[in-house]
Symmetry: C2
Subunit: 106 residues, 2 copies
């Protein structure tokens, strides 16, 4: 069992304006992301399946060629290996989940 | 890709006072849970790894013999097959993640 208080997790800067805090289990990684208004996460991909849930704000996520304009309470599942990028027009908080664990971020 | 608006997901009653909304990907299930103050989820177990994050309120989670008194921003990882139960002393919102998919809830 692992209990983590996010207050004890250091920020990891994914891109300018994207501050992430990561927590890892056996097969799951949970990532809370605070995003400054007007920030862009460049197109990237990884073999892990990802689920992104918007907690507050707004996120424009492009997966492949499809734009998802997401607000609070919306969740998108991104298959492993799918190129994606994100833009936050306003200050935004998201919760990302990955499986398997993001060993590259451990 | 799957985009889900939680507003479109029907409630599933896990126990009295535990209302869940579930979303499924390929290997991930995301479950938002609204819990009424004073509600108890009886001891149970499942083979899936689970990560529980408290969004608001307070949750007293017993995993095996260990009590976790959790507030906002805390995440616990529960290994597959571990018996656990929960009690919310106040109105609480949590986000649970499972891998693999909870086919029993699809």
């Amino acid at each position: 069992m692992t209990l983590v208080d996010i207050a004890s997790v250091p920020d990891r800067i994914l891109a300018p304006g994207f501050r992430a805090r990561l927590m890892h289990g056996a097969s799951l990684t949970i990532m809370r992301v605070q995003i400054d208004a007007g920030s862009h996460l460049p197109r990237h991909q990884h073999p892990h399946e990802q689920a992104t849930t918007i907690l507050s704000g707004r996120l424009q996520l492009i997966v492949g060629e499809t734009l998802y304009d997401m607000g609070p309470g919306m969740t998108v599942f991104i298959p492993g290996g799918s190129p994606h990028q994100a833009f936050a027009p306003v200050a935004t908080e998201a919760l990302d989940v990955f499986t398997p664990v993001r060993e590259d971020y451990r």
